[in-house]
């Protein structure tokens, strides 16, 4: 187990294109850090630089206190799970898992290798498949074999490169919890690359959001969701994504296509000196007037529902609107960054599943202006970010994390044989 420190890491290709640009990140011992971003943001490149499969153009990469920039992958002692598992097709599951152990001749006796592989296979519930070849396994089983190969080494850290993207939705959910459980049990430092924000929010102690090779924000999932630093992070985290509305700043309010936001002290200082801002409101901040108690400060507005999507646990309603010319370009650019198609501008509202609203209905909706974020249309910066609150959320996350690890270690010490895996060392 180790800490990994990235300092001003740059990856530049021959043509001068910087796939990763000046990324600094400290990953603490035992921490689970997610690298997330849309395709082409450099997250996989960054991971491959950590493991040593890509050269580092400039910057420093340290594992614990060793500078490993120029070390070969084998000397870094990291374990990696590849996106398509990269299992050795000519070896059985047992030999696949044992592969890393057999490389150092004579270091481990056959008995010890056998014991270690069996411990890993028990943890991953692969015992009955040990004699099979990867070709005969299901996707989820192959994935577990790849994880087995990673944990059997007792490496200094685990690296995952989109390990679940080849699985179907149900299996993905199961494996996600499996990975979380495994990491908690072993307490091994983990770096996990994904483009799936559900994985990012559920798995990570901290999440690092990348955009075009540049690190945007590193924070706990809650802090990321509640206090995004800019338009990109706000738009990327959350599903359905945050609604971005054009807001014209007036004397006493910000006027949006869906009602007037009164200029409270918080907003007044945020928008100071600007005529146009982008107002960001999460879909779950909206409510139907008929189905909830409306607080005094709520902003109400009438909307004609265009399309509804009923999902069982909630209902999404879509309300088209015309964007303001001054912010349209910025929002289109953002949409492209987020792999969107730039279709139409519409408000997404997440309502109670019991709501009877259907396509074409007129509804009166409300939202709490305190839940609205205000962004600078030029820089995309979040003008209403509450740094103190964000810090508190991060601290809370760190504490929860520490407790989880302690719990797992206690459990392991008590001799919970089935889960007391290689870790200890």
């Amino acid at each position: 187990m180790s800490a990994i420190t990235l300092k001003n890491i740059v990856k530049e290709y021959g043509d001068g294109y910087a796939a990763v640009n000046d990324v600094s990140l400290e990953i603490a011992d035992g921490e689970f850090v997610i690298l997330v971003g849309p395709s082409g943001c450099g997250k996989s490149t960054l991971l491959r630089m950590i493991v040593g499969l890509e050269d580092i153009t400039s910057g420093e990469l340290r594992i614990d206190d060793d500078l490993v920039n120029d070390k070969a992958p084998r000397d870094r002692d990291l374990a990696m799970v590849f996106q398509n598992y990269a299992l050795y097709p000519h070896l059985t599951v047992f030999e696949n898992i044992a592969f890393p152990l057999r490389l150092t001749k004579g270091a481990l006796s056959d008995d010890e290798i056998d014991a270690r592989v069996r411990r890993a296979s028990t943890l991953l519930e692969l015992d009955e498949h040990l004699d099979r070849k990867p070709a005969n396994l299901s996707g989820g089983q192959r994935q577990r074999v790849a994880m087995g190969r990673a944990i059997v080494r007792e490496a200094r850290a685990f690296l995952f490169d989109e390990p679940l993207s080849n699985l179907d939705a149900k299996l993905r959910g199961q494996m996600r919890t499996e990975i979380a459980r495994m990491q908690r049990t072993l307490g091994t430092t983990t770096v996990y690359v994904t483009h799936d924000q559900t994985e990012a929010l559920t798995l990570g102690d901290r999440v690092a959001v990348l955009r075009r090779g540049v690190l945007q924000q590193v924070a706990s999932p809650r802090s990321l969701y509640e206090q995004p630093v800019n338009l990109f992070v706000a738009g990327f985290i959350g599903s359905p994504p945050m609604n971005f509305l054009p807001g014209e700043v007036g004397e006493s309010s910000i006027s949006t296509p869906f009602g007037e936001l009164p200029l409270t002290d918080r907003l007044r200082s945020a928008v100071e000196g600007r005529d146009i801002v982008i107002v960001g409101i999460r879909p779950d901040a909206f409510h139907d007037v008929d189905e909830s108690d409306v607080p005094d400060e709520a902003v109400r507005f009438e909307a004609e529902i265009d399309v509804t999507e009923w999902l069982g646990s909630e209902l999404y309603a879509y309300v088209p609107f015309t964007s303001h010319d001054d912010v349209a370009a910025k929002l289109e650019e953002l949409d492209r960054d987020l792999d969107g198609e730039g279709m139409r501008t519409q408000l997404v509202v997440s309502l109670d599943a019991m709501s009877t609203l259907t396509d074409g209905d007129d509804a009166t909706l409300w939202f709490d202006p305190a839940s609205a974020h205000v962004f600078d249309p030029e820089t995309g910066d979040n003008l209403t970010r509450d740094a103190a609150r964000a810090e508190k959320l991060d601290e809370h996350g760190a504490k929860a994390r520490k407790r989880a690890i302690e719990r797992a270690r206690d459990k392991a010490e008590r001799g919970d044989a089935a889960v007391a895996v290689p870790s200890a060392g």
């Binding site: 990696m80 590849f82 598992y85 990269a86 050795y88 490389l103 005969n136």
Partner: protein, 278 residues
């Protein structure tokens, strides 16, 4: 899934193709057991099977002609196969793995070489070989054989190497393997079946060649079996050597059959399945 009707048609088709392909082989096999008096009898099976034809090529009159040519054929084919496989493996590995200028040129040149008609080169080669002293020697046949076996080896191996997931090599390196260990333990086991298959194809090309064999040799010093068969004679000028030729043909088929049986497990394709999702 095939319906019953489709299956019947497939079975019929397969039987027809097998009959068409194997009947001549069966006929040669049957003929090789016929005494010379029966060669023109018109029956398929010999009425009194005899081993005299085999005796004549392995121990009798034609022994020297046949055994020396068999030795030549085996030696020349094996050497040109081994050389072609080594060179083609290196070339294909580079073409599949690396990006270097002239990559296309190598592939295109080898393709061009392979479509060049053999018969058009053989006369100039005959003159050249006589001048520089390669005529009627083993190297004199090995070199032209490699011009036949190398292009096809390079092409098949390149195609084969391209579908090896190189991520395995990286995975092995991350698992703690040295570059050599990664190659040896993760890539070679996957590449071996491709190399075997290619070598087998190359061997058969060399083994079956007739034009170079008959044009570039004159004595038993280097003459391979396909060429030597043309020099078989009957026991008198009124007798056709058909029986002896059939027996020789059966004998030279044996190594081919043995090779295929020996390596068929290595040739099993689809070994790479399961390495990556798919």
């Amino acid at each position: 899934m095939l319906t019953t009707k489709q299956r019947i048609w497939w079975a019929l088709g397969t039987v027809a193709v097998l009959l068409y392909a194997l009947f001549p082989v069966a006929a040669i096999f049957a003929t090789s057991f016929k005494p010379s008096s029966e060669l023109t009898s018109g029956t398929f099976l010999p009425s009194s099977p005899t081993l005299s034809n085999y005796e004549s090529i392995l121990a009798g009159d034609a022994q020297e002609l046949f055994l020396s040519s068999l030795r030549n054929s085996i030696g020349i084919s094996v050497i040109s196969t081994v050389l072609a496989s080594i060179l083609a493996t290196l070339a294909a590995y580079a073409i599949a793995r690396l990006d270097f200028p002239g990559k296309k040129l190598v592939l295109m040149t080898s393709l061009a070489v392979s479509i060049f008609p053999v018969i058009s080169i053989v006369t100039p080669l005959f003159n050249l070989w006589r001048t520089i002293g390669l005529y009627d020697t083993w190297p004199g046949l090995i070199i032209p054989y490699m011009s036949l076996t190398l292009p096809i080896s390079i092409w098949t191996l390149t195609a084969f190497f391209r579908q090896i997931p190189w991520e395995l090599e990286q995975a092995a390196q991350v698992d703690g393997a040295t570059t050599y260990q990664a190659f040896r333990r993760a890539i070679v086991p996957l590449a071996a079946p491709g190399v075997f298959t290619t070598a087998l194809i190359a061997f058969f090309i060399a083994w079956n060649d007739f034009v170079y064999g008959i044009s570039l040799t004159s004595t038993s010093a280097a003459r391979p079996v396909p060429a030597a068969l043309a020099f078989f004679t009957g026991s008198s000028q009124f007798e056709e050597p058909t029986g002896a030729i059939s027996a020789a043909a059966v004998v030279v088929t044996i190594p081919v059959v043995v090779l295929v049986l020996l390596f068929q497990r290595q040739i099993v394709s689809g070994l790479t399945q399961g390495a990556v999702k798919g």
